[in-house]
């Protein structure tokens, strides 16, 4: 690993750490301002301390790792051995990364956000159909069956079972 990617990676790690720590600190100080301080902090204080100490220790370790990794070290990535335990215990074996991942990820995030915001404005049926149809299209399918027929069938099925049979009040808006 060269110096720049290493620094980038460590910066990202530290930003995430600081976000978690920042929230915890905010919560800790908010709770300690409450009237019955001792009782409220019984658990929260030690837990906050653990987070604080671990955060500092982890930042130090990451910074040191980054400084070292400007000199190539082969052992950090783990050698591809036949060690059953090692492969099986790493919960998510990294598969081949799709080059379209970033594009798909953005499409997924934006569509989902839009869907949730429109759900109780447009109504369940129309917004869900649009969500499925557009997302399947953006993720790369051009088949008429997958982009139009499948979403219509799924949304129709959900509407019939949930709204009509089970009488769940589904979100309603301008349309249905």
């Amino acid at each position: 690993m060269g110096l720049m990617p290493a620094i980038k990676k460590v910066t990202a790690e530290i930003v995430v750490l600081l976000l978690i720590f920042g929230y915890s600190a905010y919560y800790y100080f908010e709770v300690s301002a409450l009237p019955s301080r001792t009782i409220n902090l019984l658990l929260i204080q030690p837990v906050f301390m653990v987070i604080a100490i671990s955060t500092i220790a982890l930042i130090l370790i990451k910074v040191r790792e980054a400084l070292r990794s400007s000199v190539p070290i082969e052992s950090t990535q783990g050698s591809p051995t036949n060690d059953v335990t090692a492969t099986a215990l790493s919960e998510s074996p990294d598969g081949p990364v799709d080059p379209d991942f970033i594009k798909n990820g953005i499409a997924f995030a934006i569509c989902t956000l839009a869907y949730v915001l429109l759900l109780d404005r447009l109504g369940f049926v129309s917004s869900s159909f649009l969500y499925l149809s557009i997302l399947i299209y953006l993720l790369g399918s051009r088949s008429f069956w997958l982009t139009i027929v499948l979403p219509a069938a799924v949304v129709g099925f959900l509407y019939v079972t949930m709204a009509i049979l089970l009488r769940f009040p589904m979100p309603q808006g301008m349309l249905i």
């Binding site: 990202a12 099986a88 790369g140």
Partner: protein, 507 residues
Amino acid sequence: MVEFSSLWAGVSLLADWQVILMMVLGLLFGIITGAIPGFSTPLAISVMLPVTFSMEPLAAIVFLTCIYAGGNFGSSISAILINIPGSPQAIVTGLDGYPMTRQGRGNEALGFAVASSAVGNLIGAIFLILIMPLLVKFALSFGPPELFLVGVIGLTVIASLHKSFLKAAIAGGFGVLLGTIGMTSAGSTRGTLGFYELLDGIPLIPALIGLIGFSELFLMLQRTYVAGSAASNVSQGRQDLSQLLRGFKQTFRHPFTLIRASTIGVLIGGLPGAGGTVASVVSYNEGRRYSKNGANFGNGEPEGVINAEAANNASEGGALALMLSLGIPGGLATAVLIGGFMLQGLIPGPRLFLDNPALLYGVMSAQVFASFMLLFFGLLVSFYAAKIIQVPTVVLIPLIALFSIIGTYAVKLLMFDVYIMLVFAVVGIVLRKFDYPLIAVILGLILGPILDGQLMRTYQGAGELSLSIFLNRPMSLLLLGILAISLLPLVVRLVRGYLKQKEAVNG
């Protein structure tokens, strides 16, 4: 010991066509989703969680536990046929299962997997029924200090299993803090940021669906696990059925392997944080040591498949025992199951067993019946497996996303819950990306209120909080001992790392 009257009451509760139907549907859903690469068992359970809201308690819980049982087997289908485990617990199954496929014995391997999964599940279920009353008796003698310590043990075991202890500690602590949000029994309001919806605490189901389910969809996006080219190699033909049945029958020629692997599975499943993956790894390694075909492990040895599958299905019995008796989830799947109980207004733990013995015996005996059903449905799905594993993620991701969102909404008919779900999905994506153990956050979220409440009661009972409260009670002393032992691997690892570093500096 086992109360036979309650056991009988539980079994007779199962004699209801709705419950049986839910068992069949749960198993089928579990096996099929398990076989789809990327569709993990916890995800499958979390998608179906909202559906159970309107069901009767027994039908709902049995449905979810059957998804769990089915998923444990289903994930081995894709591991065997295309060397892509449906969920992590099947990685070891693929070590011998996939070489068998390449030798043209894929269906035989599936036969072995079905039979050993069912036997493992059965042994796990029997263990569950036998051990539960004892565990509950033990747990009932616990007061607030002990319950607090049990929670701490649950958290630390997970921390010591993850490769970065610090990250696990941060994730666990973060989860605990989130778990304490809301109004306390003393009437203070903590961390709600002004949202009155959070007064009851962070709603668990949306948080679980977001953290476990929705964030996994993002992970699925970056994998081209669409199985297109790999799956087309899977042979289909008439001779498949006889091969399938041959493997199925031959499994029973290895009774000792089955029993050993299942026992290992049950015991490891009972440890918080370990779960099916670790169980199958340990069982596989032990199996290789004892078997006369040990040298052939990894090259398509059926005994390897038996060892892995029996253990990962049996681990479910141990995990359920832990979850039902103490209310502590050992892994992601049982964490979501706790959500399923809570939807029905039931809190897993020793009290549940006293208040609802028939229900719990019903749930446990359903596992026994599910094992036999698994034999049949496992074979059935295996026969059509090649078609299932080809579901493209292009379709899968939007559908699961839609179900998660609508499901989250349907539980309480609140859009607020959907927003919470999305917030937790983002948290989950970030934590996964930077390799924080999600299970630690979830455990913290579930255990946070318990830890907080019990610690408060300990404090109020004694008027102060000191170590002597914990040291003067025999049970809590015992638990402190267990806590120390559970931290042992961590200490060993830290010392070893330190020595290695010193060596490197000196060298």
